[in-house]
């Protein structure tokens, strides 16, 4: 897979309080491992 991270970065997800967070926040200040789950459970 060859993801386009600059294009991915601004897409928003929700935190547990329902606040929108750009996914790129994860790697803005530090390296990151991101795990996309099939589902919660």
């Amino acid at each position: 897979m060859t993801p386009n991270l600059p294009a991915l970065a601004p897409l928003t997800v929700l935190d547990e309080q329902g606040r929108a967070v750009p996914i790129g926040t994860a790697w803005r200040d530090a390296p990151a491992v991101l795990v996309w789950l099939r589902h919660f459970g």
Binding site: L14, D15, Q17, A26, P31, A32, W36, H39, G41
Partner: protein
């Protein structure tokens, strides 16, 4: 995939963040944190699955019902993992990214079927690389 939490301390020591992204409601994310004992790890959710679509993570019944899925399920059960109440999209697959600070990709893995995960040791090796930059 939740098994990555077992390496959270090691990642923290490297200065690498560990984030989980699901696709249910924020309340489901919260329940998941409690059930999986995620502690302070961020658990985010993408109910519209925009990030999944952008990354090309697969979605379809064949990805959920292929024969390989039964094998992976047996392996996970043998390792002590059991699937709890399913909360989210049952035919959506996931994946893993390792990214350097600032947004350079080090590693990407898209699951082909349910239970198809990248080897955690491989991801950890990539995380160490990401931490060196």
């Amino acid at each position: 995939m939740a098994g990555f939490r077992s390496r959270a301390d090691e990642l923290k020591a490297l200065g690498v963040g560990l984030y989980f992204v699901g696709n249910g409601t924020p309340a489901m994310a919260s329940e998941f944190r409690d059930y999986m004992q995620m502690g302070a790890l961020p658990v985010w959710t993408d109910p519209k699955r925009q990030t999944y679509a952008h990354l090309g993570f697969k979605r379809g019944w064949m990805t959920a019902l292929s024969p390989a899925v039964w094998k992976y399920g047996a392996r996970a059960a043998a390792a002590g993992f059991k699937q709890g109440k399913q909360a989210g999209d049952p035919i959506q697959q996931g994946g893993v990214l390792v990214v350097k600070r600032g947004g350079e990709l080090v590693y990407g893995y898209a699951s082909a079927t349910a239970g198809d995960h990248p080897p955690i040791d491989e991801v950890m090796a990539k995380a160490r690389l990401a931490a060196q930059a």
